[in-house]
């Protein structure tokens, strides 16, 4: 029986690595400090493995075959896949047995994820882990959700997938302590006319719903208003999944700022699972 040591949510953007100096140094330091604080909290839980809820940005997957959900079952994952990303190459250890267990359990629970035994992780997984300073040798299982190419799975389905993951992780015997990191969102537009116009009102309302603990209201708001907050905001499917895995535990935001010059509403939070 594995214990979930922490469930975290955090935005990601390649801009924070590629063009960090488009914002004032003090703000950049403040944001990087917030990621580091999340990482310290994360590592204090002494996890043995990490489930990363993230999304592929059309690097591993293309429109010839695009999975709604994909569970990584590789022994290791290189990163980054973007030739243009300003990040040093690294190899994450994978937990193949754990990934395989989650895959088979998902199928038995009537979810139909695809699986991958060879993926090169992109900035969506790499950036928050890098900034948080998470132990690079911590074995990971990536769970990827399509948030980048319509048609996409619903917010509620993503919440339900997270609920499944929370239960399946708890029933897994081969690892004692597991942390979950959900990355993406909040409001942002990628390569649209709205790029750089963060919808702060959406983000505040969304975070308010998350903190209220009203799960149905949160899912409904995400479903009904995501179109006002940018294509990048579709990534709050990972926040839905984290909320599902948290089994009703309270959510608190630990950082939020609408950063127009990074094109992103930078939000960080955690569920009080322990």
């Amino acid at each position: 029986m594995a214990e979930i040591t922490g469930i975290y949510t955090a935005s990601h953007t390649p801009v924070m690595l590629n063009f960090p100096d488009r914002i004032p140094a003090t703000l950049k330091d403040e944001i990087f400090g917030a990621y580091k604080a999340m990482g310290d909290d994360f590592m204090a839980g002494k996890p043995d493995a990490l489930v990363v809820l993230s999304n592929d940005h059309l690097h591993n997957f293309f429109l010839d075959n695009f999975p709604a959900y994909c569970i990584g079952c590789a022994e290791s994952y290189e990163s980054p896949i973007e030739h243009w990303l300003h990040a040093k190459r690294r190899t994450f250890a994978g937990d193949q047995a754990f990934g395989s267990y989650l895959l088979q359990s998902a199928l038995e629970a009537d979810f139909d994820p695809s699986f991958s035994m060879e993926m090169v992780l992109d900035h969506g997984s790499l950036t928050p882990l890098e900034l948080a300073g998470v132990d690079p040798d911590l074995p990971i299982v990536p769970v990827l959700i399509n948030c980048v190419q319509p048609p996409m799975p619903t917010m509620r389905r993503s919440y339900n997938l997270g609920r499944f993951l929370g239960h399946a992780i708890a029933e897994y015997d081969a690892v004692d302590r597991v942390a979950i990191l959900a990355t993406g969102g909040i409001s942002h537009d990628i390569a649209t006319p709205r790029m750089g116009m963060v919808n702060e009102e959406f983000d505040e309302t969304f975070l308010g719903h998350m903190e209220s603990g009203d799960i149905d209201a949160t899912i409904q708001y995400a479903t009904d208003f995501v179109h006002t907050a940018g294509n990048g905001c579709e990534e709050i499917r990972m926040w839905m999944a984290a909320m599902g895995a948290a089994k009703g535990a309270a959510f608190e935001r630990t950082y939020y700022k609408a950063v127009n010059d990074w094109y992103t509403g930078i939000g960080i939070g955690r569920f009080k699972v322990s």
Binding site: R22, L58, L63, W84, Q149, P150, A191, T192, T228, A229
Partner: protein, 102 residues
């Protein structure tokens, strides 16, 4: 405006997606493109106006093709179109009256 131009990609958008995807993921493709963009683009069955928009770094034109925005974004960074130029081209398409109401 909505988050997406096409809720299911058209074939036209698919072709653009394919070029911008292969350009940045297949070995040696970026180098071939940088050496001779015209020759590279003839490998694809792309309508001429779309080939021209790629070759001339016409960010607004590429956007309007319906191309996936993540592929467009990666392309802009990958071929080093100046960041402020990309932003300005995209912003020029904004209808301020409806930017946040879907």
């Amino acid at each position: 405006m909505a988050n997406w131009q096409e809720m299911m990609p058209s074939t036209r958008a698919y072709l653009m997606n394919k070029v911008l995807y292969e350009l940045h993921h297949k070995p040696d493709h970026l180098e071939a493109y940088n050496q001779d963009a015209d020759a590279y683009l003839t490998r694809f069955d792309l309508p001429q106006d779309l080939a021209t928009s790629i070759k001339s770094n016409d960010v607004a034109g590429m956007y309007l093709s319906g191309v996936n925005p993540y592929l467009l974004r990666a392309h802009c960074i990958g071929v080093k179109i100046p960041e402020d130029e990309s932003l300005a081209a995209l912003r020029s398409l904004l209808d301020h009256e409806d930017y946040n109401d879907g």
